[in-house]
Symmetry: C2
Subunit: 198 residues, 2 copies
């Protein structure tokens, strides 16, 4: 609909996830009116990402160096490892300020229909860490959906044979701040079966 | 929350209009997994936009050449000019396939609180076109909001003195496909006062 580079920009922006045609148009006209320095900054970070983001050799999280900040932090408990699907899950757990251990990022969840099996995830690396480091507890913090549950179940089976290793799973139940009547049956069922004495 | 270029990318994306922190994170991880060629294309269109998009010397629309496709098109009626605020309004009117005349893009609407007066809009250029070209009708197609209405009122006053020039305004009324009961009072009032014999 537009001539020249404006339409090209709208097309490229529209390819990004969650950016519809209207948003793409709005962003394009915002950039059209932006300072060249602002656009340059965006180009530069794209360049850095294109050149390759480093992933931590230990846990698989995005990192600035070969080993990430959390894995280098001696104050973090190396005996407890929280296993998550993606780097953004590390951020989510960190925000709780409840966890002082280390992480292991799988890089996804088991999803045979999309061709993601155990070999596509960083499961071998996890088993290696458990074998060499002094890990006492593995917290399975994969998503509470079909793929995440399947991944957790698979990992439980793989980790069963390590002597002295405790494997835990994040609690399922009612989200805080919610209404009981609006909870779906599955969540309410999990909350019931997971009830605790107080 | 993230280390290195990933956080920089999330920050830069979060500065774009309509992109919140969650969307920025999602787009960043999409780009992290994207092909280098895809990122290069995005960088290239940003470069072109940074180097400057050409605006049509006649109507002010975004253009590939000094004069835009519509202004160069001899089949388009040069005696009718539709005055809009932004290039995206040209696209909106073009989509109707109802209009065969030319356009004039003001570059915004009068908004004294934001420091946008008549001199910040391409009003002088519009008066120049009316003075030199053989224009018989000006259709005021500014937005039906406070700024757009103020701009239309201002233009009506400026265009009053041109002999033989008809000045029209887009009809206000009920949007098609809507329910009468859900129309706001202002829209319904406009629809009433603008009623036509059928």
């Amino acid at each position: 609909m537009y001539e020249g580079p404006v339409q090209d920009l709208i097309d490229e922006l529209g390819r990004l996830p969650g950016v519809g045609p209207k948003s793409a148009q709005r962003i394009a006209f915002h950039l059209l009116a932006a300072e060249p320095a602002d656009i340059s900054r965006l180009q530069e970070v794209l360049q850095k990402v294109k050149e390759g983001v480093v992933f931590c050799q230990v846990c698989g999280n995005v990192s600035e160096e070969q080993t990430c900040r959390i894995c280098r932090d001696a104050r973090r408990d190396p005996t407890v490892v929280c296993v998550v699907e993606e780097p953004k899950d590390v951020v989510a757990v960190e925000k709780t300020r409840e966890f002082k251990g280390r992480y292991h990022v799988l890089g996804g969840a088991l999803d045979p229909l999309s061709g993601i099996g155990p070999d596509q995830l960083r499961i071998r690396e996890l088993l290696g860490r458990i074998g060499s480091d002094d890990i006492k507890e593995i917290i399975l913090a994969t998503d509470p959906n079909t793929e995440g549950e399947a991944t957790a179940t698979y990992l439980v089976r793989m980790l069963r044979d390590f002597p002295g290793l405790t494997v835990t799973r994040l609690a399922s139940g009612l989200p805080m701040g919610g209404d009981l009547e609006f909870a779906d049956e599955l969540t309410l069922g999990r909350a019931l079966s997971g009830r605790r004495t107080v």
